[in-house]
């Protein structure tokens, strides 16, 4: 009986020490290091959004529009430009676009223009 109990506790010990998939995942780089804070300027107001660098920019755009209560129009009607006025592809990831922590981005409805040809 005593021997059985000893074996049982040994078995439990062994089961606890066998690495499980959850333990293996702990070797990955923590996700917290993969996040950046982007600042969206919408109508002159700043909206900071914390987002994973692996997410497409549109994810952050959607959140910024919700936070600024600009939900009346779909995200596809909005465009994101950097401080140099360059249009950013919202389907690309934040990492691909090279956006760093604290980057300021202009989020506005696309310029709708009439006009004529020269």
């Amino acid at each position: 009986m005593l021997n059985f109990a000893a074996e049982d506790s040994l078995w439990r010990f062994r089961t606890r020490t066998i690495p499980e998939p959850a333990d293996e995942r702990s070797f990955e780089v923590p996700k917290v290091d993969h996040r950046v804070g982007l600042v969206f300027i919408i109508n002159g107001m700043d909206y900071p959004i914390d987002v994973s660098v692996e997410a497409p920019l549109v994810t952050a755009v959607e959140r910024a529009l919700v936070e600024s209560r600009n939900t009346g129009r779909p995200p596809s009607e909005w465009e994101v430009r950097n401080t140099s006025g360059v249009l950013l592809e919202t389907g690309r990831t934040i990492e691909d676009l090279g956006l760093k922590n604290g980057t300021r981005l202009f989020l506005s409805l696309r310029v709708g223009a009439g006009g004529t040809y020269q």
Binding site: G44, M45, G72, G85, L87, F106, V111, T116
Partner: protein, 208 residues
């Protein structure tokens, strides 16, 4: 007058406060808020960005003789287009979009269209097109044909594209950013020197 002036005045103050908060962003783009805005007007100075590009007839490039009619382009570091004033009128804002008028910075007079800069938009499908047009059917003045500007929405050709569809998403700051794109960021002044004439062109940078 369609809106209680007190309502419009408060919205005006909100827009001016936003412009003041974003002053450094505006100034980094060559946009300067002039004086202390008094309802219903906001005046901005827009400083053109790109250098004047001069095209002159060229005969030779190094040791190579060029075909007749060949031109050579040179950017002049000390020359660009003139700075000008953009005057927004927020009467009846925001039931109506801000009205925009351009003025000479030194004389405060409204310039003739022929002597003005040009504003251009570039789109992937439409390519470059002029958005500063002459003679608005109502005001008879030059106007910026861009969404968010009163003269655009009041133009008969845009009667289906009402300001009220956009006013929640567009404030004065974002309208000014649109103005910056079409009137400062994209436009390059060009001077073409011909045998007996000078021609002024405005080219749009192909930037979507």
């Amino acid at each position: 007058m369609m809106v209680d002036p007190e309502v419009s005045r408060r919205k005006f103050q909100h827009e001016v406060r936003t412009l003041k908060e974003q002053r450094s962003t505006l100034e980094s783009r060559g946009i300067f808020l002039l004086g202390s805005p008094t309802y219903p007007f906001v005046e901005l100075l827009l400083v053109p960005r790109h250098l004047l590009r001069v095209f002159v007839p060229a005969v030779k490039s190094g040791d190579i003789f060029l075909p007749e009619g060949a031109m050579m382009a040179v950017e002049i570091p000390s020359l660009a287009a003139r700075a000008y004033k953009a005057r927004f009128d927020l009467t009846d804002y925001d039931l109506q979009a801000p009205s925009l008028e351009f003025r000479d910075f030194w004389t405060d007079s409204a310039p003739e269209y022929a002597t003005m800069f040009r504003a251009l938009e570039f789109e992937k499908e439409r390519k470059a097109h002029v958005v500063l047009l002459d003679r608005h059917p109502i005001t008879q003045k030059p106007f910026l044909c861009v969404r968010g500007i009163r003269e655009y929405h009041s133009h008969p050709q845009h009667s289906g594209d009402e300001w009220l569809l956009y006013r929640q998403q567009m404030g004065l700051f974002s309208i000014i950013m649109s103005l910056w794109r079409v009137a400062v960021d994209l436009v390059h002044p060009q001077l073409v020197v011909q045998q007996n004439a000078l021609q002024v062109n405005w080219a749009a940078e192909e930037k979507v």
